[in-house]
């Protein structure tokens, strides 16, 4: 038996219309870019440092007036195995993804998912209150909400003149 994922119209003959090919091409490009940026980020100077671990979860981050919201894709991870720690200007998400079928041992013919430990340190755009953080895991997505530290609000600085 052979397990061949079909990706192009030509190889499958299953789909019709040129959009399938375009969509597949776009998917491939997305995967290439995602792979490049998420897995080789230690080489990217504008990305945060990687502490330990073999893979990095992808994140989204947004900022509202009083909060910073971070969302990380962590499919297949027991929430008990996720550790979220916060310092004033940094959020660290670490943990381990265990392979459920590792116990059965043999038979894997194809693997694409990441397993093992991961740790990602994310610099925050503003200082936050480490005591005021919530983290929630749902359907493979970790959502962290951080409250900005009141002292981080912008202040008007008076400009003095020399006498």
């Amino acid at each position: 038996m052979s397990l061949i994922p079909f990706r192009t119209k030509r190889s499958s003959g299953m789909e019709s219309g040129s959009l399938t090919t375009l969509a597949d091409f776009r998917n491939e490009m997305n995967r290439l870019f995602e792979g490049f940026f998420s897995r080789t980020s230690p080489a990217s100077p504008w990305f945060e440092t990687v502490e330990t671990g073999q893979w990095l979860p992808a994140i989204d981050m947004s900022e509202s007036e009083k909060q910073i919201h971070v969302r990380a894709e962590l499919p297949g991870i027991d929430p008990k195995d996720v550790d979220v720690s916060v310092s004033e200007d940094r959020l660290v998400i670490s943990g381990e993804k265990k392979s459920e079928k590792e116990a059965t041992g043999e038979g894997w013919s194809h693997r694409e998912s990441h397993y093992g430990g991961f740790s990602r340190a994310i610099p925050l755009p503003e200082s936050v209150d480490p005591a005021n953080v919530t983290a929630r895991y749902d359907k493979g997505v970790l959502m962290v909400e951080l409250t900005k530290s009141p002292t981080s609000a912008s202040r008007k600085v008076p400009v003095l003149t020399a006498k």
């Binding site: 499958s12 894709e73 059965t104 998912s113 493979g140």
Partner: protein
């Protein structure tokens, strides 16, 4: 958007592909009696996942609701869109017994082989 200027150039129909679709990462394990597919589809709802098996092709489609974060986006590393992927498994599978479950953003599909084609261990007798 492509504008149709000549009759020979077909216009792209935007409604055919309204959103970006992504291929999920999939692990495949051949256990003999069945083939196991494990797909990472974080953020999907179980009710929005569609698994079909037709002519030896197993197709997975999953609808993912928009993942909108409040406020101004600072960083966006993963795409927002539906998942879609297909695998040609071939014949010899019992389509009526295919089962799938979705937990913690991971879809696990069990595709059992027909009893007639399952590998069997043959006992060797001694005289």
């Amino acid at each position: 958007m492509v504008t149709q200027t000549h009759t020979t150039i077909p216009a792209i129909e935007p409604q055919a592909e309204p959103n970006l679709t992504y291929q999920p990462n999939v692990d495949i394990c051949d256990l003999g009696a069945e083939v196991l597919l494990v797909a990472d589809i974080p953020g999907a709802r179980a009710s929005g996942i569609d698994v079909t098996f037709e002519d030896g092709v197993l197709a997975v489609r999953a609808a993912v609701p928009p993942r909108e974060l409040p406020g101004r986006t600072v960083r966006q590393e993963y795409g927002i869109g539906n998942y879609r992927r297909s695998f040609r498994l071939g014949d010899g599978f019992d389509a009526s017994q295919i089962s799938a479950d979705y937990k913690k953003g991971v879809l696990t599909i069990h595709v059992p082989r027909l009893a007639a084609v399952r590998p069997r261990k043959v006992e060797v007798k001694t005289a």
